[in-house]
Structure formats: C-alpha cells, structure tokens
C-alpha cells in the first residue's frame, strides 16, 4: 500500500495541545509588550501592575477567580458551538439575557432556597438557550451564517435590557438608578471566602466544565454534534440530522452563556443592570479558541483571562494604561490561534522528528 512506512505515531503528540496553549499565551504577551513599547509605555511596569492587580492580595486574587467564573461558562459556550461547527458570537447577549431572567426569578418570586436558587439559575440558562437556539434554527433552516445573526441578536438584547430597567420599564427598581430590585437572599449564591466577593459560582463553573467534557466526549448527543462539526456531510450520510444538532448545540451553547450571566447576577451584583458584563462574552471567544475548544483548555484560559480582567483594573489605576489592553491581548491571542489549523501539522511533524531522534 502507498507510503505505509511514513505513517507513524508517537506518545509525544499528546503534548502538542498544551504546547499550542503556552505558545499562544507567550506570543500574545510578547506582541503585547512590543505594542506597549511602541506607544511609549513600559511593558515591565504594565505587566507588573497587571499581575500585582491579579495576585497581590487575597481580595485581588478573589476578584481574579470571580472574573474567571463567567469566563469559564462563556468559554464553554463558545467551545461547544465550535465543536458543532458553529461560531457563537452571541455570548455577550446571552449573558445579559441570562442575567436578566435570573434576576427576575430572583427578586419577583418568593421560594425556599433549595428551589429558588436552582430555579433562578435555570431561568438564566433557558433564556440564554432560547436566544442561542434562534440563530441555530436560522442556520439549520435557512443557511444564514450564524455570525451575523448572533451579532444582530446581541444588539437587540442590549436594547431589551436597557428598556427593562429604564424609567417605567418592567424590571425597574423603586429608586433613582437604572437597576432591577435586589435578588432575594434565597436566590443568592453564597459567598465562600471571607472578606471577598467570591461566590460558590466558581465551583458551579468547574462542575459544568466537567459536565461539558462528559457531554462532548462520552454521550451520544455530544458524539453526534462533534461529527456534524467536523464533517456535517459525512454525519448526514450516517443518518445524523445536522440541522437538529445545530439547533441543539446552539441551545446548549446559549444556555451556558445564560448561566454565565445568571451566576454573575446571583453571585456578584445581586441585581440586574444592563452593563453588568464588562464584555465577558467577547473574551469568551478568545478563551475558547486558546483552550482549543476543550473544557480543560477552557478552564485554563478562562483563568488567564480572569487574571487579565482583574489585573487590568489595577493596571489602569496605577500605570494609567487603559484596561482595554485586555482586548488587544485577546485579539493577539485570537490571531495566533487562528493559525492552529496550519500550525498543527507542522508541530506534529516536528514532534515526530524529535521522537525519531530520541529513539536513536
């Protein structure tokens, strides 16, 4: 048979994914340093302030984990979409909607804790899920590229959110501010670290990372979604319905996005206001891509972006550098990961060569 001798394998291949992760982070930080230097900032000072802001005290570190929480959910949302071949750019909108629904259940209904909290979380997930399923349906049924529809739906949600808490809006609290009433204690996520704002949400996020992993790689539905994502034509030939999988994948992706918002509202702010997410939904794209759409990678990169998010606030205060440098780093990471498809075969070849040399 043709070229059978050239087809090799090596246990070292398993190291490629972590390598790609680390390379991506390093290159983004280096490129970011060059960028800062070009604009006359000291990269050392900037990164120094960044890491100080993320790690230097208990409170700072808690804030880092606090930012990590919605990023894990958001990253899982984007990753799940990608696994089924769908680019969910609507996570930001799903976060806002999820937060809104969770807040409503949280303040408007009076229920015992054991029911109230799960129900509020569920409301967030369902709201985000339905909002995600719409572009999934439009893609499956009308072949409309989900990127445009998810973006459009974001803008629609932002207006809905603004309406809800505007003067005379249905969710407006009885005060001067454009916010909803406070969520009842029975629907609040408990704080788990004295003197900080860190809530149990981080554990829920980690549990969901495990659940998503099991779902993707151990269940029938997850298997079918991955088959559609990698080759929908072959999946269809094997009797899997790509359209149905797409709607499901976008529903679940949106639900994860909704949970990000719900956990943020129920665990941090205890109320809804339209700008409660500082752009977690956008970071989520970079989180998923850097994490190679794998739950383990997502958790790792969510933590990295948590560091960036919380550190950048201190950085802006100390070094007078806009916290939006996070977006620039995020863009750089995305650029790097966009070449993964091209890069991976090269890394594979290098690894194999390395392995043969080692064998000798």
């Amino acid at each position: 048979m043709e070229n059978e001798k050239n087809r090799k394998t090596s246990p070292l291949l398993a190291l490629i994914s972590p390598t790609q992760f680390i390379l991506g982070v390093l290159l983004a930080f280096i490129a970011g340093a060059v960028f800062l230097w070009v604009f006359g900032e000291s990269p050392a000072d900037a990164y120094g302030a960044l890491f100080k802001g993320a790690f230097s005290s208990k409170r700072y570190f808690a804030e880092t984990l606090l930012s990590t929480t919605p990023l894990i959910f958001g990253g899982l949302a984007v990753a799940l979409g990608f696994r089924c071949g769908l680019f969910n750019m609507g996570v930001e909108g799903q976060i806002v909607l999820g937060g809104m629904a969770a807040a409503y259940v949280g303040y408007a209904w009076e229920l015992p804790l054991l029911i109230h909290l799960p129900l509020a979380l569920l409301a967030g997930a369902v709201a985000g899920g339905i909002w995600g399923a719409i572009p999934g349906y439009l893609k499956a049924k009308h072949r409309i590229h989900e990127v445009i529809t998810t973006i459009m739906l974001n803008y629609i949600v932002f207006q809905v959110a603004a309406y809800m808490i505007a003067v005379g809006g249905p969710m407006k609290a009885d005060n001067e501010l454009p916010v909803s009433p406070d969520v009842l204690p029975t629907a609040q996520l408990a704080r788990i670290w004295e003197g900080t704002r860190l809530s149990g949400g981080i554990f829920i996020a980690l549990i969901f990372a495990v659940l998503v992993w099991v779902f993707l790689f151990k269940t029938r539905l997850g298997y079918k979604m991955r088959a559609v994502g990698l080759n929908s034509s072959a999946a269809e030939f094997a009797g899997i319905k790509p359209g149905r999988m797409m709607v499901w994948a976008m529903f679940l992706s949106g639900a994860l996005g909704g949970l990000a918002g719900a956990v943020e509202v129920l665990g941090v702010h205890y109320k809804f206001y339209s700008t409660f997410s500082p752009g977690y939904g956008w970071d989520a794209i970079a989180v998923a891509l850097l994490g190679l759409n794998h739950p383990v990678g997502v958790v790792a990169s969510a933590f990295l972006f948590g560091v960036l998010r919380s550190g950048s606030i201190t950085m802006q205060a100390i070094a007078q550098i806009s916290k939006d440098i996070v977006l620039i780093l995020s863009a750089l990471i995305i650029f790097f990961t966009a070449t993964n498809q091209t890069l991976r075969p090269i890394l594979e070849r290098l690894t194999l060569r390395l392995d043969t040399r080692r064998a000798k």
Partner: protein, 503 residues
C-alpha cells in the same frame, strides 16, 4: 531531444513524490505517462507546467535550461496542461474562461466582441465546436475538456499535457479525444498523455514512461511491449487483469425501485421515473457518464433527498418515507462516492468513525452515554477483519492512506449486515492492490446472497463486477444487459444518449 526533465525531486511532508525522475520527450510524439494513483505522475506534470517547483533537478527545452516560477513561464515556453480536474470557473462563460489572464482590451474594458471572435476563430481552426456564450457549469464534461484544450492552444501550446483525460468521458468521447490528439500530432504538437489504463496507452501512444512509487521504472516503445508487461512494471508484480467471479444464481428481489422521480437542488428533474430491481445474490451495475442522475439516485435511495414521486421497497418493506437512519436500520448500507467528504470524518479517530451509525445501538449506546470500551472492542475486530493498516484505533482517519480509509468504510458498512449495499465509485483513486481487495470483498458479499447496487463511471469496473448492467442517461434507464451480453461500445453509445433503437 525536445524536452528533458532531469533528476526531478519533489517532496511532500513525509512523502517523496518524485524521486530523481528523468523524462525525455521527442518532438511530435504522443508520450504516455503510466502509473498507479499516487505514483507521482501529476506531481511531475505540475512541475512541468509551472504549478509546483521541484526541490531538485532541471528542465531543458531544446537543450536549453528553463525555470518556471509560475504557470505563465511554462506557457511562454509552449507548455500547456489540461488538468484532471478542469481548471475552469464554473460560473463564467466559455469566452470568459478562455480569455482569463489574457484579456483583449478596449480602453479599460474587456473587449467582449473581440474575445468572442477569438474563441470562434480558434474553434473553427481546430475543428472543435464550442458555444462561446454558454456557462461552463451548463455544458458537458466532454465540452469542458474541449474548452481546456482550446484554451491551451490559444496560448500557443506546443507541448500539451493531458492528465487522465479519459476518466470522465464515454467511450465515444474517448474516440473523439483520440481523433483530436492525432490531428494535433499531425499539426506538429507534442503530447504527454497521463493515464493508469493500459489499453489506452496501447491505443494512442508512441512511447511510454512508467512510474512507480515516485520513480521511473521503464521507458519503452509502445509497440514493442505487451499490456501484461506494462502492468507488471506499473504495479511491481504480476497482476490478474480480470476479476475472478463465479456464476451465482440470483434469488428473491431485494430492492425494488418504481417510477422514481427526483429533482436536484436547483429544482431540475434529475431522475425521470426510474424503475429497476436488485435481487439477492446479484450485483447490479449502473453505468453512465457523471452527472446523469447517479448522485441524485444514491441520495434518494439512501434518504438524503426527497423523491417527487415513486416508491422504493427493500425486502418487501416500503422505505420511501423513511429517513436515512431508519433505512440504515432497515438493511441498507452505503459506500459513498466521496469517501473524504462523506464516508469518513477525517478528524475523528478510527473508533469514532466506526461508530458512525452505530452510536444509538446496543451495545454502544447505554442510555444517553456511549460505551467506549465496547467501541474499542468493535474497532479492533474490524481493523483485524478487514486488514486496515493502522498503528491503532485512536489514529485520526486522515492519517490513513486512501486504500485503508476505504477498507475502514467497507468494514463499517459490511458490519451492519445489510440486505443491500450501495457502492458508489468504490475504487476511485485507489491503487491496484486496494482495488483488487475491494472488488473481491464485493463479490464475496454477493456470494452470501446479498444484493449490491454498484454505481461507477469506470466502464471496466461495471463490466468486471456486474451480473446485470443498467445504463443511465439524463435520469433515465436507457438500457439493460445481462453480464457478458454487452460490449463496451454498446454501453458507450447508450451512455452518450443514443437510444437502443438507433443502434
């Protein structure tokens, strides 16, 4: 010597596609380039037409060294190539394709009138009729090939490379092509003719260079050599050129298709009330030129496309309203035409690929979960049974060779224990060993009293394997023959659209 390629080396990651190849072409000859799929023929020709740069080696024309940075350089040296996959823009007209890269201008505009004239002039001169205003996607492959040949001639091609030009043609169109080639030869052109079909080499070439595994294994005058010897050179061992097949009495009707009518995605009727049966223990071959409704037929039979009217019965059960999965469970298996696109998920491991279609069945499905321990057992069994050469079941499908990929599909589909197997182009692009393997498996399957519907553009494959042959033309069955009753010429005429009565 008109053209010399000296010690050409071309590497791909992990593969030496051309290993110090030397090729000499004399002025005015038709030179065959013979080799199996993957022997390096196309790579070598891509080097010659400027599409790829050699890693080592040189090209001489009339003794002068030339270097091609791109296709334009090669065109300037009088080298034109008609690629296996035509290099035409489907949504452009014949004229637009013709002038692309070489447009006549009137001010800033394209001089459309002049362009049209150019096409007509040249087509007149070479006696090759084409419609300058037709869109490429609307004309037949034979016609598209003419456009390609004319396009090369218009750019002053002295040396014409034809890469597997017969693969998509009917026997009559092949005759036409030979006629064109001979007249080009008379006009002083030189032709390199690439093929893996021995008979074609014998018929048209003056000399032949044989490639195997990226190396030259023989250069001979065609008339001095027998087909068997060429075959031995090409494959590297003795090959049986005919498929060994015993008579086998067909049994009950397994699949019955009645008045099946279907449209393509653009709404054009592609199947016009097709009716046929396939019996147990019988291989029914559907012969036809690509694009005459074969794809739609497969899609309708497997449930991927809705029929407009008509019925499909499988073992007495009406399956025409079932979805693909239900048909699969009802006893239909399918080897798709394009294994890379439809047969396998290339970035899935072998295990995951074997699971396709089994994921909802015992013992793999356990509630909502998948039992990967069972899947692994299943995978090792299939790998062993069908001799899939792989380092393990966790290997991604894309890293396997074409032959092994096809074996994996075959293994998976046979394992369904189907009543009927639809095999569409099951051996396209494979080397001889893999083709033999797959042909034998299909016959073994038939000998177990199973039904096979074989769809192939390769007439020899149809003739070798089928117990009964149906000819499809423009969505209709225009002829039916028992094994041994049909000659290639008869089939060819029907495939080209002349009705039985007019023969």
């Amino acid at each position: 010597m008109y053209l010399e390629m000296k010690n050409i080396v071309r590497r791909f990651p992990g593969v030496l596609a051309n290993d110090h190849i030397c090729l000499e072409i004399e002025k005015g000859e038709i030179h065959g380039l013979l080799g199996e799929n993957g022997a390096g023929k196309t790579t070598l020709m891509n080097v010659l037409c400027g599409l790829a740069r050699p890693d080592e080696g040189e090209i001489l024309i009339d003794g002068m060294k030339v270097e091609f940075g791109n296709c334009l350089d090669a065109i300037k040296c009088g080298i034109g190539m008609v690629h296996q996959h035509f290099m035409l823009v489907p949504v452009f007209t014949v004229t637009e394709n013709f002038i692309l890269g070489n447009e006549p201008r009137k001010g800033a505009r394209i001089d459309t009138a002049r362009a049209r004239e150019m096409v007509l002039e040249l087509s007149e001169k070479h006696g090759l009729k084409v419609d300058p205003d037709a869109l490429i996607k609307d004309i037949s492959v034979g016609m598209q090939q003419r456009v390609e040949i004319l396009k090369a001639l218009s750019r002053g091609a002295e040396l014409m490379i034809l890469d597997e030009p017969t693969a998509v043609l009917t026997p009559q169109e092949v005759e036409d092509l030979y006629r064109i080639m001979r007249s080009l030869q008379e006009a002083g052109h030189t032709i390199i003719f690439i093929t893996h079909k021995l008979q074609e080499i014998k018929e048209i070439t003056d000399r032949v260079t044989v490639l195997r595994d990226g190396r030259v294994v023989g250069i001979v005058r065609t008339k001095d050599v027998e087909q068997v010897e060429l075959a031995r050179m090409m494959v590297g061992r003795d090959v049986v050129l005919r498929v060994e097949k015993d008579q086998h009495a067909p049994g009950e009707v397994m699949m019955s298709v009645k008045d099946l009518r279907a449209n393509d995605s653009r709404g054009l009727t592609k199947l016009k009330d097709i009716t046929f049966d396939v019996r147990a223990g019988e291989i029914v071959g559907i012969a036809g030129v690509a694009g005459n409704g074969q794809e739609e037929l497969v899609e309708v039979l497997t449930g991927l496309r809705k029929q407009e009217s008509g019925s499909i019965t499988l073992d007495m059960q009406d399956i025409s309203q079932l979805n693909p999965r239900e048909r699969m469970y009802a006893g239909l298996a399918h080897i798709p035409q394009d294994r890379q696109r439809r047969g396998l998920v290339m970035n899935f491991s072998l295990v995951d690929n074997f699971l396709l279609g089994y994921e909802d069945l015992k013992p793999f499905a356990r509630g909502p979960m998948l039992d990967y321990r069972e899947a692994e057992k299943f995978a090792s069994k299939l790998i062993k049974m069908f001799d899939v050469r792989t380092p393990g079941s966790q290997i991604l499908a894309r890293t396997l060779s074409g032959g092994n990929q096809q074996k994996a599909i075959l293994a998976r589909e046979f394992q369904r224990d189907p009543k009927l197997l639809i095999a569409a182009q099951p051996t396209r692009g494979l080397d001889v060993a893999a083709i033999e393997f797959i042909h034998n498996e299909l016959i073994k399957f038939r000998d177990q009293d199973k039904a096979v519907l074989l769809i192939s553009m390769e007439l020899t494959e149809i003739l070798d394997l089928s117990d009964r042959i149906l000819v499809i033309y423009e969505g209709e069955i225009v002829g039916e023959f028992k094994s041994g009753q049909a000659t290639p010429e008869q089939l060819g005429l029907l495939m080209a659209g002349s009705k039985k009565g007019q023969m």
